[in-house]
C-alpha cells in the first residue's frame, strides 16, 4: 500500500519540483530582459564612434541635393554630438545644389546636425564660380546662412589681385565678400597706358 502511494506521489513530486524551477526561471528571464532593455536604452544615448580612413562622404538636404562633399585621410564620427572630426580634408560646399566653394584644411570639425563646418590649421579655399581664392588660419561655413567666415591673416586673391585683412565674411561662392582689417589692404598690379 505504502509502495503504491509512494509510486503515485513520486511523479507529482517531480512535477512539482520542476514546476517550481520553471517559475523561478521565468522571473530570472524577466530580470534579464529588463537588464537588456536598460542597456539598450542606455546604448541609444551612448557615444558611438566610427573611425574610417580615406573616406568620401556627402551630406544632402531633404530633396537629395548635396550640401557638402568631403574627402579626408581620416574621419571620426561621434554619433551623440553628430560631429565628424576629419584630418587632411577637402570639402566642396554646394549652393542650391551647385558646387560653389572648395576648401582644404589639415583639421576639420563638421557638425552634421547643425550643418556647420570648422576648418583649422591653415585653410585654403577657392570659389568654383567666381575664380577668387582665399587663405586664412581658420574658417567656418554655415549652411543655414550660406556664409563663409575666415579669420587670421586672411588673403583673398585672384590673378594679380590681393586683398589682405584680419577677417573675411562672404557668401559660399565668394561673390560678395567683406574684409575687415587694421587696415585691410587691396593691391593690384595692372598694365597702365
Amino acid at each position: 500500500m505504502f509502495r503504491r502511494v509512494a509510486l503515485a506521489a513520486l511523479p507529482l513530486l517531480i512535477a512539482g519540483c520542476a514546476g517550481g524551477r520553471l517559475g523561478e526561471k521565468t522571473a530570472q528571464e524577466k530580470r534579464e530582459a529588463a537588464r537588456v532593455a536598460r542597456e539598450r536604452r542606455a546604448d541609444r544615448f551612448a557615444p558611438v564612434r566610427l573611425r574610417q580612413e580615406n573616406l568620401k562622404s556627402t551630406l544632402s538636404d531633404e530633396e537629395g541635393r548635396p550640401i557638402w562633399e568631403a574627402t579626408s585621410k581620416l574621419i571620426e564620427v561621434e554619433e551623440k554630438t553628430k560631429t565628424g572630426r576629419l584630418e587632411g580634408a577637402r570639402f566642396i560646399f554646394y549652393d542650391n545644389g551647385k558646387p560653389a566653394l572648395e576648401a582644404r584644411a589639415p583639421l576639420v570639425t563638421a557638425n552634421y546636425k547643425e550643418k556647420t563646418v570648422q576648418l583649422r590649421g591653415g585653410v585654403e579655399g577657392i570659389s568654383l564660380t567666381g575664380g577668387y581664392g582665399f587663405r586664412a588660419k581658420e574658417a567656418e561655413w554655415e549652411y543655414e546662412k550660406k556664409q563663409v567666415r575666415a579669420s587670421g591673416g586672411v588673403t583673398l586673391w585672384r590673378e594679380e589681385w590681393r586683398v589682405v585683412g584680419d577677417e573675411l565674411t562672404g557668401d559660399t561662392a565668394l561673390n560678395r565678400v567683406r574684409l575687415v582689417g587694421k587696415p585691410a589692404r587691396l593691391m593690384v598690379t595692372q598694365k597702365s597706358k
Binding site: E159, R176, V177, R178, P183, R185, V188, T189, Q190
Partner: protein, 173 residues
C-alpha cells in the same frame, strides 16, 4: 646658311614683339573693403572701401571717407570714386620736363584710370607748384579736370592766382 637664317629669324621675332606695357601698382587701404558684382556691367565688380580710405598709385595719392572702385570685365580698374573730405596729392611732368606737384581738397573726386584724368568737384581748393622754377598756382573752383599724363587742366568757375619768384635785378655796372 641655315644658321644665318635662324639668327635673322630670331632678330625679326625680337623686333616684331610689341613693347611691354608699363606696370602700375594700385594700393587701397581701409578698415573695411567689400566686393560685389557690378549690377550695371556683366562680369564687372565693385569694390567699396569705407572708414577712412587711402588710394596710392605711382602718380597720385587720394584720401577720402569712402571710395568705390569700378573694375571692368577684363579685370582692370576703370575708375575710382572718392567721396567725403577728399585730399589729393599728385605729380606730373610737362612736355618740357617740368615737374608739377598738386595738392588739392574737394568734396568728391573721380579718378578715371584709363584716361589718367582726375575730376574734382565740390569746393575745390588746391595748389600746384612747379618744382624747377618755383611757380605756384593757387586755385579754387567748382569743378576741376586734371590730366595726369598731359600738360592740361580745365577749371570751371575758377579763381587762379599765380605766384612767381622775383627775378634778380640785372647788375648795374
Amino acid at each position: 646658311m641655315k644658321r644665318l637664317l635662324i639668327v635673322a629669324l630670331m632678330l625679326l621675332t625680337c623686333a616684331a614683339a610689341p613693347p611691354e606695357k608699363a606696370q602700375r601698382t594700385v594700393e587701397l587701404e581701409a578698415p573695411v573693403i567689400e566686393r560685389e558684382p557690378d549690377p550695371k556691367v556683366p562680369g564687372g565688380e565693385l569694390w567699396k572701401a569705407s572708414g577712412g580710405v587711402t588710394l596710392t598709385t605711382s602718380d597720385v595719392n587720394i584720401k577720402a571717407d569712402s571710395m568705390t572702385v569700378n573694375v571692368g570685365k577684363n579685370r582692370t580698374m576703370e575708375q575710382v570714386q572718392a567721396v567725403g573730405g577728399v585730399v589729393i596729392k599728385g605729380s606730373r611732368k610737362t612736355a618740357d620736363g617740368i615737374e608739377q606737384r598738386l595738392n588739392a581738397t574737394c568734396n568728391e573726386a573721380t579718378y578715371l584710370m584709363s584716361e589718367e584724368r582726375l575730376l574734382l568737384s565740390g569746393n575745390v581748393r588746391g595748389t600746384m607748384v612747379e618744382v624747377q622754377n618755383d611757380r605756384t598756382w593757387d586755385l579754387s573752383s567748382d569743378k576741376a579736370h586734371l590730366w595726369l599724363r598731359e600738360d592740361r587742366m580745365r577749371l570751371e568757375r575758377a579763381k587762379v592766382k599765380l605766384t612767381e619768384p622775383e627775378k634778380p635785378a640785372p647788375k648795374q655796372e
